[in-house]
């Protein structure tokens, strides 16, 4: 490794990273360096009090920078090596408030103030978002920030009042230059090693040499394990910036999505071309999480309540696994083998997910949860249906939250295919769907409710397809 000292540029000042362990998170590191504006509210990326801005490649390729808000409590501090960070302290000071800070302050957007730095950073990311056409705020920009005091109204007002950065705004101007690239990091400490893979070959080699290593991209799952369940690892491989994992290609046969793209990047780059994903992604955690989380990570953790799997099952996607010894592609329906178990070998990583074309014309993603956004599904149901001349030519249904693994509702698919897309077919199939999986009672939902939701989801799909103009109404 080079003799370069590992460091991150924070609010324009380089801060050394030497001595950080692979499980020291960015929040604790920043706070230990005296930057106590960012707070720990939950340590699992749910409250957003720890949000900071990082410089990431912009939308229009790699020539520009996007100030991206992320949960610093989940990121390994080591992953900031060579990166640029702006914290709430870097945006403004009490005597010289940033426009976002001013809006929040004067409108009563802070009460106890503990969540406020996180809201400021999320709002600042929105303030600097390059494709924000007019003043105003995306509805999801603050979906990852919790406030227990205000009831949100003044915060929403501040968001609605966002102006545009002035021409001489230094952070605004910074966007015009490229974001820092990934640097080859190898931080070796008493508690373990953090190694950033330079490219896919490097990643595969590292993994072959350290099959016990943890692969970390957005760290939105691993970070929770570290913080809440004291997970530790002697070797962590950072793959979040590996170029070969960040491609998004489309040919006539398929759309191939790099496993290392963040969900926000996928959302943006697909631009609605896969309606089922476009429906899924806004319901997938929060903006702060989507700015870090990747499709590969969501599949590799293999949670039965991960929301991507049901959708990819309905899309009949394929998972492309790669290792030093080669690459293999398999249907996602063969990927999950048990509770949090997959066919991925220890020396393999997920390179990409391939979605075959053409897409079924009728699709829907129904997420049943207690909270509308940023909640974990009690049940998730994804539909992809092809109805020709009034008959269901093809039906693919992916389910989450009803078994130890995500699964296809094969019996329901059979009860639909070849039958008229009619109320009677749907009612009969809904009965079949109600019996799919083996739902349990837990804190998110009762088994009875889960079964009921399986049944009503098909009725709802049919009702909504029958009334295509109906867009209002409550949704889970």
């Amino acid at each position: 490794m080079s003799s370069r000292m590992p460091s991150a540029t924070v609010n324009g000042i380089p801060l050394g990273l030497e001595g950080v362990s692979p499980t020291t998170n960015a929040l604790d590191w920043l706070r230990s360096r005296g930057l106590t504006g960012a707070k720990e509210g939950c340590a699992e990326g749910e409250c957003g009090a720890c949000a900071v801005l990082v410089a990431r490649p912009g939308r229009s390729g790699d020539s520009t920078t996007e100030w991206t808000a992320v949960n610093s409590c989940l990121m390994p501090a080591a992953s900031l090596d060579g990166q640029e960070v702006v914290t709430v302290e870097g945006l403004g000071s009490p005597d010289d408030l940033h426009p976002v800070q001013r809006e929040l302050a004067v409108r009563g957007g802070s009460q106890c103030g503990f969540c406020t730095p996180g809201f400021v950073c999320s709002l600042a990311a929105e303030f600097y978002r390059a494709d924000r056409a007019d003043a105003g705020c995306d509805a999801h920009a603050l979906s990852g920030n919790l406030c227990r005091c205000t009831g949100y109204r003044p915060i929403q007002d501040a968001a609605d009042a966002l102006g545009m950065p002035s021409g001489d705004d230094p952070l605004g101007r910074r966007r015009e230059a490229p974001a820092p690239g990934a640097v080859p990091t190898r931080l070796v400490g008493a508690a373990g090693t953090y190694a950033r893979a330079a490219d896919l070959t490097d990643a595969c080699t590292l993994l072959a040499e350290h099959p016990e290593a943890v692969l970390v991209a957005g760290s939105t799952d691993w970070g929770v394990e570290v913080n809440l369940r004291a997970a530790r690892s002697a070797f962590v491989i950072g793959i979040d910036r590996v170029p070969e994992l960040r491609d998004l290609d489309e040919d006539g046969d398929a759309i191939t999505i790099g496993a290392g793209l963040t969900l926000s990047e996928i959302e943006r780059r697909l631009g609605g071309r896969v309606p089922l994903l476009a429906e899924l992604l806004p319901q997938f955690a929060s903006r702060l999480i989507r700015n870090g989380a990747t499709l590969g990570g969501n599949l590799a953790t293999a949670s039965p309540i991960g929301d991507a799997a049901p959708v990819l099952l309905a899309l009949e996607a394929e998972v492309i696994l790669t290792s030093s010894s080669g690459e293999r592609t398999l249907p996602i329906s063969e990927f999950f083998t048990g509770y949090r178990q997959t066919v991925r070998r220890a020396d393999e990583l997920i390179r990409a997910v391939r979605i075959p074309l053409p897409l079924s014309p009728i699709s829907a993603f129904h997420k049943i949860a207690k909270r509308r956004f940023d909640d974990i599904s009690g049940v998730a149901i994804a539909f992809a249906l092809d109805v020709r001349d009034g008959t269901v030519a093809r039906a693919r249904i992916g389910l989450g939250g009803v078994a130890a693994t995500p699964l296809r509702a094969l019996a329901t698919e059979r009860s639909l295919e070849g039958h008229a897309w009619s109320e009677s077919t749907v009612e009969a199939a809904a009965e079949v769907l109600r019996g799919e999986g083996t739902p349990i009672d837990d804190l998110r939902a009762s088994a009875a409710y889960r079964r009921a939701m399986l049944g009503t989801s098909l009725l709802r799909l049919h009702a909504e397809q029958g009334h295509p103009g109906r867009t209002e109404g409550a949704r889970a």
């Binding site: 106590t36 509210g41 004067v106 919790l146 009831g151 049943i368 207690k370």
Partner: protein
Amino acid sequence: MSSLSQRPANAVVGQAIPHESAALHVTGSALYTDDLVGRTAGVLHAWPVQSPHARATVTALRVEAAYGIDGVVRVLSAADVPGLNDAGVKGDEPLFPAEARHVGHAICWVLGETLEAARLGAAAVEVDYAPLPAIITLREAIAAEAFQGCQPTLLRGDVESGLAHAAVVFAGELDIAGQEHFYLETHVSIALVDEAGQVFVQSSTQHPSETQAMVAQVLALPSNAVTVQSLRMGGGFGGKEMQPHGLAAVAALGATLTGRPVRLRLNRTQDMTMTGKRHGFHAQWRVGFDADGHLTALDATLTSDGGWSLDLSEPVLARALCHVDNAYWIPDVRVNGRIARTNKTSQTAFRGFGGPQGMLVIEDILGRCAPLLGIDPAELRRRNFYVDGQATPYGQPVRHPERLVHAWDDLTARADLVQRREEVAAFNAEHPHAKRGLAITPVKFGISFNFTTFNQAGALVHVYTDGSVLINHGGTEMGQGLHTKMLQVAATSLGLPLERVRLAPTRTDKVPNASATAASSGADLNGGAVKHACEQITARLAEVAAAELSVDPSEVTFAGGVVSGGGGSLTWEEVVALAYAQRVQLWASGFYRTEGLQWDSTAMQGSPFKYFSYGVAACEVEVDGFTGAYRTRRVDIVHDVGDSLSPLVDIGQIEGGFVQGAGWLTLEDLRWEEGDGPNRGRLATQSASTYKLPSLSEMPEVFTVALLEHAHEDGVVYGSKAVGEPPLMLAFSVREALRQAAAAFGPERAAVHLATPATPESVWWAIESARSQRDDDSPGRRAERAGVTVVSAEVGGQDPHAPDQPEPDAPPIAPETERLADSGSPR
């Protein structure tokens, strides 16, 4: 008008200004207790050893292995305690327990050079447990008659006679969910010891004086050797009224034993598994209505889930009993109260302090019974309001009941409720898979601590020779804007611009013996004390100025930094300089006690409250018939804050209280492992990913708040009223709107029971219950579906719109066969 409530022209109070720390909040400059760690050298970190059992005797504790961990400095256990091994005021909260009483109970604490060392040290401590039978649910405790503390009864009139004379009597039950505070800042204390052995504790506490007393109790020190500072809190909501004491005591004990600063900060999991929450309640009731729908009698038993120790459960229960009437006149009342002892966290104060649970009982009764009575729920509520001359069941006259009527009528007009009800009905007729509900509910909430002694406060106001002013008072800042209001009170009272006044953090060595900042009383009490101190100073300065201006002191006025009299004037600074030169005292301590309170806590009779706060909310929701998911379309509120001290602050409290109440009633779902497995008693929702707070997406699509006009409150500082707690209960409107929307999936006048919290799943079962009434909508059946027993008389006899006549021969449902749990939800 009293001099306390009189407000000068152009007062600084009443100005809509942001929170005094807003610029610090938004820049991350505002310091919270844990932000001090990096500014304190040599800090040790604390980590608890937590019980995995709901109840177990600790038969052995072996700490040696912890000392084998690199960086472990000290293990703290019972043998280390020089004073009393108890962190509570009731003597039932051992700091280092010999018997674990709940899953997560801290048995001992490990101090390390780093948090990681302390954590690893705690993992190395070996504890032998002998598990004992545990009680987890409230219903288990009731069955086992496992109660603790007092069992008060609130009594007026003859409830049996009142029920006997009713036209109809219903009976039912209600399970009321608890609530996690989820202040964004978890509990934290940092303790230091100085060269003389004095202990200084920085604590995120709402009650520094009691934290001080508990630290002193544990360390066997006099109170004058312990100082507690509450810099500011990242939210409190009642959760930091009692719960900080033991944690501060552990930190202080560690500091005295090691001579080094000790930081004890709970992470979120520890905070949720160790500290108390809002009490869950069970209510069982019989209620009588006359032929016009007037309440005649209420007989109820309220049992709270106190958890493993008493904590504040007794006063919480007292307030629940005192609020079971909410805004309604009930001639004959008997309410029994009990506190269950369960093997859970020790439940504690939470915004509303039992009031919400008590009020929910009557609001749920009215919402459930209105369709059975055939009366529109809004009309049923309005018809039962208190009128002038009536008193609460505990004998306190209800002053200004007409204000509630004004608020109700004002809101009905402003929110266009008459027309919107028609729109809702039209929407519901057109949409088979979605229904809307529109409900309006009132709040009447008593202000003052039920415990009369606490209704006192102190303040310290310094005027320096340059004319600048520094104030201290005994109240703590947790985001509610108390300090903002106190600055406004001081500036108003001294006749100064706001910028001339600064406020210093709350410390027990500045203002002693302060009550908890709680019961919504912070501004009333501390405002009275600050004003008292300021008035002593202006009285002295008036003498000085009068001599200089050759007028009588009574003619001297203070406004805008100018001291005037007899046509002449001096600047504030000139008068201050003159006074100093003349050796006039430029600082004063203030004291305030609320007059006119009296309360017999045994008889549950008296006038415990200075006044009542009123509010009205109207809420419209839309429910999805496929899932039970819902959206809050619109909320309108009129709330009574008297003459507001600080309108931006007050509106923030109203909105925030409403949303927090809506969270309690709809979304926030505390779950405990109740089965017999190894996890029995474990809190299943112990993190932010499983315990969901309202987020921005739950904000009403339209949300308006108006302050009630002509609401001057005589006898309170500058005519204002308290605001912290009452708005939380405005959220009953959400629950009632959901109930009405769910009922709209059934036949007309379907009655439904809605479980708390009304999660989408709960709403779904309510919808299913309403739908099931299509096939059989006999009055008795509808009552059964709503979890209501018809004890006597005719159901639905008063409905002029009912197409069918009631069925007088419908067999009554036996009370013992009727349980809410059978009303649809499989939970």
